[in-house]
Symmetry: D2
Subunit: 134 residues, 4 copies
């Protein structure tokens, strides 16, 4: 499992005074960038012009979050061909409440935007890191 923490910023609140629902997707995207980085894949993807592109996002919003809340994002990653699938769970450290959960399916595109199989090497590097995290 991967863990990433984000502190809610003032400009992420909308006119309802809480974090806008689209911003949850921003938070989860950043957690995924961090996973790619931790697995040592970031430079390679950029160098080869390969892109992980979101194809499907199913998000369940459970509790609102507000300025300075500390949001913990737990993520598990699985290959479910042809997708790399990210299972996110968001918690609010202030109160230890559940905030949201989501399933995000991504595909890998090459520089010409042709879909690629998710390479075993990528899956293994992520899995290795994921297991190391416990």
């Amino acid at each position: 499992m991967f863990e990433y923490q984000i502190t809610v910023r003032g400009y992420e609140l909308d006119s309802y005074g809480h974090v806008n629902h689209a911003v949850y997707l921003n938070y989860m995207e950043q957690a995924r960038w961090e996973i790619i980085r931790e697995a040592g894949l970031l430079d390679q993807l950029i160098r080869e012009g390969k892109k992980l592109v979101v194809i499907k996002a199913d998000v369940r919003y459970i509790n609102e979050i507000k300025l300075f809340d500390k949001v913990i994002i737990h993520t598990k990653v699985k290959k479910e061909a042809p997708y790399l699938v990210f299972y996110h769970k968001l918690f609010n450290q202030n109160g230890n409440t559940r905030v949201a959960r989501a399933v995000i399916k991504a595909i890998l595109l090459d520089e010409q935007k042709k879909p690629l199989d998710i390479p075993d090497e990528m899956v293994n590097l992520i899995a290795h890191k994921q297991e190391g995290n416990g």
Copy 2:
């Protein structure tokens, strides 16, 4: 059915050179604000402190969109108690391709953030406008 058009703005592109997946949620949110406005409900909701809050978002991304693309958002609204459900379909006028579709479930909260039944009056005002649009 409701129809709303949005032109893609330069700052909505991410480092992949296309509209970031979270921005699709922004576009659809704006289409919903417009529906609320067209149905004559906007002032009332603001005055009474009632809020439509997204509880579930299921988005399927079909094609990327880029700077100056004209995105048409078709929306159908149904009451499926306790939710007000928005069925969005996004098209790109440049090429007439499908861009995305989504199901967004919202609940209505009062000023103290207690869930309310979706009032029949709200459903009727939206339905009336929806049918009028053909």
Copy 3:
């Protein structure tokens, strides 16, 4: 002079219930993309990997703007070597009030991010369009 219109979207409001000050920069950026497009320069810049990059932004905020306000952006463009300078004035059509004014200085970078002189051809194409607009 160039003129661009933007309608305020719901998700652009912050917790103060008005458009966040950073979003004014988004609006003005989009007005500049449109000028580049109208002058017929967009495809060329992208093809050659040249980038107009903001170096200085001086913004004076005059009135708040809110959901569904129609914002008119008037822009004059001048070459003041080594900068291309954009003079923006924003008005709210709802009430005909002044919203903001700004001076944005940009430089032109080549694909290796080396600064370039602003080419006379670029200035002429913009000036031609600008005068045509009256």
Copy 4:
């Protein structure tokens, strides 16, 4: 002086592959929220419906920043009636380069959006914290 650190997130990059110029304003806004919080003023402002609103933003962009860069925001605050003025300097910890500097002038509004004098108590609480930070 106040110090705040932000790590650049993937979705904050624009199609140029670097942080969009408007996002610098987001970063600085968040640094100001943190100052308000550290000075113990956040709850009071929210409770009394008072708002610090940006009236003038002068930003000088010095170097681009990219994914995972760690940005340090140094801020000094001064009362220059009728404004509360924030002097921001942004550095990139990766390479220790200067990123931007800005002067942001804000006024204080009451719940009816009437301008208020910046209260001495507010200035003292901020100054006390500022000096404590060295």
